[in-house]
């Protein structure tokens, strides 16, 4: 699915990723965690080809990412900040993305499950933050792709929408997809994730299930286990 080998990335003098190795072979939900500035978003953007690595190799579905763009056909991505061209109306944006990707989509189902029908004729600039995030989610889940990358998907969602989102993620998982999520909400991770990938200072500090994490840290509480991971782990 995804194979990352010895990935380095520098922004100016700031070394963000330093020799990251990661291999994701089986489908499931992977939570990419780590403190602010640990390189989560950079890692994701490297996979998407938005950030160009200083060195290292990335493969998605067996295809090298470097100087390639066709592999993105296999990826759905939900960006952290949902901001769209304000002049467009919601249905126009949906139609545009469909037109650009040329894939069958399930937008009708998603419009009804997130209650977006009344907003379809609104301009994107006039939507509230939460509604905009719903549109963002809709765009990310609209197509059938084997790899789904979600950067902070829960931002600004009301409880009902959050439940719909969780159901949606579970459904995708059952269809055998690989889902990569970054978030700071530990409750969400505990509930959803099969595997935890913990990033610190540009390296992968821990990769395993929640149960393994609790055993390793000796903490029973998931929040505390995550918090102590950085201080207590010397080598993994």
């Amino acid at each position: 699915m995804i194979k990352i080998e010895d990935l380095h990335k520098k922004f100016g003098r700031n070394q963000v990723l330093s020799g990251t190795n990661l291999s994701i072979k089986s489908p499931g939900i992977y939570a990419v965690l780590g403190p602010n500035g640990s390189g989560k978003t950079t890692l994701i953007k490297c996979i998407l080809g938005m950030v160009i690595p200083t060195s290292g190799e990335i493969e998605v579905e067996g295809k090298a990412v470097k100087k390639n763009w066709k592999y993105r056909q296999e990826i759905n991505y939900l960006p952290q900040i949902a901001n769209f061209p304000g002049n467009l109306r919601v249905f126009e944006l949906i139609a545009m993305i469909k037109d650009l990707r040329q894939k069958p989509s399930q937008d009708d189902v998603l419009i009804s499950s997130f209650g977006l029908a009344p907003y379809l004729n609104n301009k994107l600039a006039s939507l509230s933050g939460g509604t905009r995030q719903k549109v963002n989610i809709l765009l990310a889940f609209m197509f059938n792709s084997p790899l789904i990358i979600l950067d902070e998907p829960t931002t600004g969602l009301d409880p009902a929408a959050l439940i719909s989102l969780k159901k949606l993620i579970q459904k995708e998982k059952q269809q055998g997809k690989t889902i990569l999520i970054t978030t700071h909400i530990m409750q969400f991770v505990e509930e959803m994730a099969d595997t935890i990938i913990y990033l610190l200072e540009g390296k992968i500090y821990f990769k395993g299930t929640i149960k393994e994490l609790k055993e390793r840290t000796g903490e029973n509480n998931f929040d505390h286990a995550i918090a102590t991971i950085a201080t207590n782990f010397e080598n993994v």
Binding site: L48, G49, M50, V51, K70, Q73, P79, N87, R101
Partner: protein, 260 residues
């Protein structure tokens, strides 16, 4: 690429500024024609306006659009689309809609006035071609500036400086250098200096076409004597094409290396 172009173009066609720009040229065209009562004179006045204003609008609009569509660009970057297509498409969308505003805004009053029955039709068409080139050139330059500057204020500052440099400062420096080195033969120097500024180049090109020696000035005279009207014309057009393609090439090259 054409899809991106289409959507950028639609996006701009809905924005109020495209219409303001269009209405401005429409008003300018009508006022000039009905005050001057002479198509040829109106073309000369228009040239002076176009040569200063079109680069300014192209620069400001380009920078503004680029910064405003930053999130949209990021959305596109995550889709299976080639990077060069995204940026070329957006660039052509902006430059295309600006050119359309210019051509329609000026074209309508001139056609209404009876351009097709006048001798000035070729002069006028050349004016529009030059206007289109200036839009293409300065939009490309402004995209370059915006791409290399994350900071919007800085980007805007550089963009305005760029315009100021080509529209005003360059001429001043050029003139100054002519005065300082007046004892030397300056034909080739002034030729090259004119080529290196798209604004000067456009002015010379139009004046060559209009064949008004009184307005041509030193550079125009040099141009004419060196190339003759015809080859001077083609070389100027060729230079304008280069001025368009080099920034565009640089834009694509930079965009391919940039992190988003």
């Amino acid at each position: 690429m054409f899809k991106i172009l289409k959507y950028s173009f639609y996006d701009l066609m809905r924005s109020r500024w495209s219409y303001v720009y269009f209405l401005f040229y429409l008003a300018l065209g009508f006022v000039l024609l009905f005050l001057n009562n002479d198509v040829s004179k109106a073309v000369i006045t228009l040239m002076n306006v176009i040569i200063v204003l079109v680069p300014l609008i192209g620069t400001i609009f380009g920078v503004m659009y680029f910064y405003n569509s930053k999130e949209f660009t990021e959305l596109l970057l995550a889709l299976p689309i080639k990077r060069s297509s995204i940026f070329t498409g957006q660039y052509l969308g902006v430059a295309g809609s600006l050119t359309l505003s210019l051509v329609m805004g000026l074209g309508i009053p001139f056609i209404a006035y009876g351009l097709f029955r006048s001798n000035a039709i070729w002069d006028f068409s050349l004016l529009l071609v030059v206007g289109a080139f200036l839009t293409l050139i300065f939009t490309a330059l402004s995209f370059n500036i915006a791409l290399s500057n994350e900071n919007k204020i800085k980007g805007f500052g550089y963009a305005v400086l760029l315009w100021l440099f080509f529209a005003v400062i360059y001429d001043g420096l050029f003139l100054l250098s002519l005065i300082i080195f007046e004892d030397y033969p300056l034909d080739k120097y002034s030729l090259v200096a004119t080529m290196l500024n798209p604004v000067d180049l456009s002015r010379t090109l139009i004046l060559l076409k209009l064949d008004i020696s009184a307005l041509m000035g030193y550079t125009g005279a040099v141009f004419k004597s060196f190339f003759g009207t015809r080859s001077g014309f083609f070389i100027s057009i060729f230079m304008l094409i280069l001025w368009t393609l080099i920034p565009l090439y640089n834009l694509i090259r930079k965009a391919n290396k940039k992190d988003f």
